[in-house]
Symmetry: C2
Subunit: 343 residues, 2 copies
């Protein structure tokens, strides 16, 4: 492995000069620069990133903290992040979070410039005080899919409450009144709020529409298809089954569709279903859903982080809100007139 000293010797210059060439310093004459570049080429020299990092106090690495792939949507976001980071000189390190302990460990160890130059936190409210510590340590942070709550940190978010509204307005306008909701457990160890925000949008819009949310129409459970399927079965077994179900995610909506089909009912004739996210399979399933720009959100957040690193000073801690959009496909229609399910 050639070192900077080898290159310097080969080019007949000092190590400092080679370093200047490497870092595009203007303080190098054209002829010297050419000689150095030739030597670099000849020796197939590549600077050691560790040495460089140690010396400069940063490591050309971005950390992405992800509650890993628990939601299909995280992957789509990550795609956007990867695409944005790809053109830059930064490497991408994945920090998987499976538990609050896990999360806290990561945040503790990342509070230094030698671990990562910047941090992208995905769908995860940072633990108390960690943002302040990160700021003190000079590690820029961008929140992706979680709010900054007025703190001095850029965040890329969507208005989940509004998303819930979009879904319910659509169902109300179709004439539905018996509308149920299926979402995640509201009190989870990470403090995720997107599901409960969407639920809030549901509640409020039902209220505004003067439509009652019947007791037991709001159901919670782990974010997997099988659970939402089971919850739907319970809803369908009621004496007053819903004519429409809104779920906090597409994954959960698929479970609803399964349950409805298994019960021998038809979508949308017997039951309408609206999901949230618009992940890749949703178009396959023909699911009406609230689309959030997942890829773009990742891309935007990563771009913000790179800007912050480029500016080398805190950038405007904006909260960027990406637009939600209702995508109407074939799982929603006006309710049929039956007030009760058949026999």
């Amino acid at each position: 492995m050639a070192t900077i000293a080898d290159v310097a010797a080969q080019a007949g210059v000092g190590a400092g000069t080679v370093s200047r060439v490497l870092n595009d310093s203007p303080r190098v004459s054209e002829t010297t620069r050419a000689r150095v570049l030739a030597a670099i080429e000849e020796l197939n020299y590549r600077p050691n990133p560790l040495a460089r990092g140690l010396s400069r106090g940063r490591c050309q690495t971005l950390g992405v903290v992800v509650p890993f792939f628990t939601h299909a949507s995280a992957v789509e976001r990550l795609r956007g992040v990867v695409a944005a980071v790809d053109g830059s000189r930064y490497d991408l390190v994945l920090f998987n979070v499976e538990s609050p302990v896990h999360r806290d460990e990561h945040f503790a160890s990342l509070t230094r410039r030698d671990r990562a130059d910047g941090l992208l936190v995905m769908s995860l409210p940072p633990p108390q005080g960690s943002l302040e510590r990160l700021a003190t340590a000079g590690v820029p942070v961008v929140l992706l899919d979680s709010h900054n709550h007025g703190l001095d940190v850029p965040a890329v978010v969507t208005d989940d409450v509004e998303g819930g509204r979009l879904a319910i307005r659509h169902l109300l306008s179709l004439g539905h009144e018996r509308i149920a909701f299926i979402g995640d457990e509201p009190d989870n160890p990470f403090g995720f709020t997107s599901s409960s925000d969407r639920e809030a949008g549901y509640i409020r819009t039902m209220d505004e529409g003067g439509v009652e949310v019947r007791a037991g129409y709001v159901r919670h459970g782990p974010h997997v298809r099988t659970v939402s399927r089971r919850l739907t079965e319970e809803l369908l077994a009621r004496r007053d089954p819903p004519t429409a179900v809104f779920t906090a995610s597409d994954v959960q909506a698929l479970g609803v569709l399964e349950a409805v089909r298994a019960a021998g009912l038809r979508v949308p004739e017997d039951i309408s279903v609206v999901g949230f996210d618009d992940v890749e399979v949703s178009s396959y399933a023909g699911l009406t859903t609230v689309r959030q720009p997942l890829y773009e959100s990742g891309h935007k957040a990563a771009t913000l982080l790179l800007e912050a690193l480029g500016a080398d000073g805190p950038i405007a801690p904006v909260e960027i809100e990406l637009k939600l959009e209702l995508v109407v496909r074939s799982t929603t229609a006006p309710p049929t007139n039956r007030k009760r399910r058949p026999a």
Copy 2:
């Protein structure tokens, strides 16, 4: 930020001793060790990974080279990798590959211990000579979902040809004869072979069964649902449409299902469909498919790599073959007797 010198001063020992404590050297007395640990605790000291890496010539980092998320299956594999790496002391760096140039750049820059201590190459035949260079540089490599072709490198693979056989045997045993295949372009810039291997299994098993592969029954196209849907439409428009379609992946199988449904035909009554992979949505779609253990493959490959790093010498360059398994769901059935599609 506390340094090792600070800790040494605080504990009243030399820096070397602190380092020994840090690295669990046996050459430290219990009392000294306790004093040092106390000092570390007190100063909330954490060693600088860059300095450590520079000094030791490695960086506690694993690189994962991924043709990023082009197949849904890559994500599932990555999950397994992440899980396996999670318990270790290694960070995971993502190297995204979108083009052969991209790939070659990464392989070039990764051929040194200062970039990554080990490399996991996913679904990507490494470029010519790169494995030798990596071996020379002392960077252990594990191939995930690509063969080592007799080279001295551990690989975790499945027998894609056999997978094709499983699918076709199933269809033949149901009585199908007009069986079509939809897969990826056989000559792709990366040299992926899984699709063409599955195709080979199809061809051979048809042969062995004495069943003709009709002209035009083998179709290729980019790995997206919309394309396989279009290809299926073309197959259905034939005067001798297939009674069954086998695809090189579940994603493509979904496209087939879409096309069949759009044509007003029923699955499996009119057409049987068999996919490959068994990704998450396949159970939702009720797709009969050849399951490969995606998560396990990632987990196994990462574990092998960690072993190689632990052994600190080349480990047995085994090629581990994971079992494939036919999962019969509701998209396959015996063919109906029609020889031609209606009108």
